[in-house]
């Protein structure tokens, strides 16, 4: 069995806006469901660290970035559509 990678996710927000809070709730929920124990979510508030926006090419808020595994993927929006997020991140249910 191949060694399982730790998923590194980054969520870019700008203050505690409705969309941002919702996005964090959503991604935490999906991760607990499909990637339990194998993920890290780093929340970056651009209001506090505006200089970090350029590096990951952030233009929309909220933006979820999958750093690992590669290739880099981005999902913008409040992540309310579970199907789209799972496809976008290429997460396969662990049970399969």
């Amino acid at each position: 069995m191949p060694k399982q990678e730790i998923w590194e996710l980054r969520l870019y927000i700008a203050g505690q806006t409705t969309n941002s809070i919702l996005a964090l709730e959503n991604i935490t929920k999906y991760c607990n469901q499909y990637l339990e124990g194998r993920y890290v979510i780093e929340v970056i508030d651009l209001l506090k660290n505006p200089q970090l926006a350029e590096g990951d090419q952030i233009f929309a808020i909220p933006t979820l970035v999958r750093k690992v595994p590669e290739p880099l993927r981005k999902i913008i929006g409040d992540l309310s559509n579970e199907e789209k997020v799972l496809v976008g991140l290429n997460i396969r249910p662990i049970a399969l």
Binding site: P50, A53, E54, Q57, I61, T63, L72, R73, D78, V85
Partner: protein, 476 residues
């Protein structure tokens, strides 16, 4: 009250040569300006020049937010124009942010806004205290973002935000088929809209600029030719100059003492213009050379535009009639600029001339022959250019001499151009070759000379090893 408001509108110099004249001082300070035009019309350069000149000439730092070209591409592309992005960035005067949106790696789900873009822009502006901002081309977002409803409302918000931030911003937009920009950006930016246009007429590329809209300010409404050369963009406001130059009373020689005698003042006025017309082989260039030489003898710098002969050939040929151009070229009194007239558009020639005027600061300018320029444009263009040219020379108090080739049996084209030049010139001399008793007889006639009496006689001359020699005595 209306008028007071007009005057109170603060302007930001554009950094584009000639554009401040058209816009009465520049762009509206602290407001967004839309620059639109089709691909390759010079939008990005326009924007870059606005930023770079803003930094170098007006000490206003600037942010370049590029949605298309990467930082290294931009840096590379503008190096040839002397825009040193690396240096300006190192000095914290310029901030380039390349917004790259890869649709393939982005998924959209649910609600979002473009606050990320605002934060980046805000950070960039604040980090260097920017006064100028360029967004090139924000329309690219439309190909990267699916939800155009959000995009449109966010773009509207962005332009409002820029205004609040108090920066003067250039937003570029690609020309649409039935609208100024493909995505209708003109709907959001309504203070000042400038349209750039690039077309090819008779194989010669011409660029034009028009101020479509400028809220709260007067502006020139014409289409103005502009050009892009190694110094960036320059606009030529053909009609902006006024007839208010000084007219000196000092008399200078035509270069031929015998010819001077034909004028009541024994010469011509300084800073006046002479037109020499004649068929091929009537010694127009020789007369021009005498005039150039006399200017050099006064230790005055002389600029010789040669559209038919190379500098070398001109020097060699004039040496045979005793005019040593080589010597005065070496002592930097004479500068010969030779180029093929058709190599560049009219505007380019005029710009070259303007630049050489600024560089060399000549007291005398020869254009030999001006008729070559005429072949490269249509009549109204040529006329506008000639007026501009003559005005420029007058304003700079430069003695000017133009030669113009005429043909046997005036053609229609010949006439109208001759009309244009001759009505503008102060002194008009016509040269002729006639056959008499199997011999060529050269003659000269002063057709007109503003502000002084002149001989009405046809004066015969020969060309000798010392140049033009008058065989009949000149009378006043």
């Amino acid at each position: 009250m209306e008028k007071n408001q007009k005057e109170s509108l603060l302007k930001t110099p554009t950094g584009i040569n000639g554009l401040d004249e058209i816009t009465n001082g520049g762009f509206p300070k602290g407001r967004p300006v839309l620059i639109c035009g089709s691909a390759g019309c010079g939008k990005t350069l326009f924007a870059a020049q606005f930023l770079v000149r803003g930094i170098t000439d007006y000490n206003e730092p600037g942010v370049f937010m590029s949605f298309e070209e990467s930082e290294s591409d931009l840096t590379q592309n503008f190096k040839s124009l002397g825009f040193d992005f690396e240096k300006l960035q190192a000095e914290k005067k310029l901030h380039i942010d390349h917004v790259r949106i890869e649709r393939s790696e982005i998924e959209e789900t649910g609600e979002y806004d473009l606050e990320g873009l605002f934060i980046r822009l805000n950070y960039a502006i604040d980090s260097i205290g920017a006064k100028r901002v360029v967004l090139d081309t924000i329309e690219s977002l439309f190909s990267g973002i699916e939800n155009t409803t959000i995009l449109r409302s966010e773009i509207r918000r962005l332009f409002g935000w820029l205004k609040e931030k108090g920066v003067t911003a250039i937003i570029t937009g690609e020309r649409g088929e039935n609208s100024l920009t493909r995505q209708g950006l003109e709907e959001y930016v309504s203070d000042c809209v400038i349209l750039l246009d690039f077309r090819v007429i008779e194989q010669i590329a011409t660029r034009r600029l028009r101020v479509v809209k400028y809220r709260g300010s007067t502006h020139g409404t014409n289409e103005y030719p502009f050009l892009i050369d190694e110094y960036g963009i320059s606009v030529l406001p053909v009609t902006s100059l006024k007839l208010d130059y000084k007219s000196p009373t000092e008399i200078i020689t035509t270069g031929l003492p015998a010819l001077d005698q034909a004028f009541s003042e024994c010469g011509i006025y300084r800073a006046s213009s002479i037109l020499i017309t004649g068929n091929a082989g009537t010694s127009k260039t020789i007369l021009a050379a005498h005039f150039a030489w006399s200017s050099c003898e006064r230790k005055e710098r002389t600029l010789y535009f040669s559209f038919e002969e190379s500098p070398d050939q001109l020097v060699r040929n004039m040496a045979t009639i005793g005019i040593d151009f080589e010597k005065v070229i070496q002592s930097k009194l004479l500068h010969i600029h030779a180029s093929r007239p058709s190599l560049q558009g009219l505007e380019m020639h005029l710009m070259t001339l303007n630049r050489l005027l600024a560089e060399i600061k000549p007291r005398t300018v020869i254009i030999d022959p001006i008729s070559s320029l005429i072949s490269i444009g249509n009549n109204s263009e040529v006329r506008a250019m000639l007026i501009r040219l003559m005005d420029t020379l007058k304003i700079n108090q430069i003695n000017a001499l133009f030669t113009s080739l005429t043909h046997e049996g005036h053609s229609e084209n010949n006439f109208s151009i001759l009309d244009a030049v001759s009505s503008l010139a102060d002194t008009w001399i016509n040269l002729k070759n006639e056959e008499r008793n199997n011999e060529r007889v050269r003659s000269l006639l002063i057709v007109k000379s503003r502000g002084m009496g002149h001989s009405n006689n046809q004066q015969h001359f020969t060309i000798t090893g010392k140049g033009i020699h008058f065989t009949s005595p000149n009378k006043k």
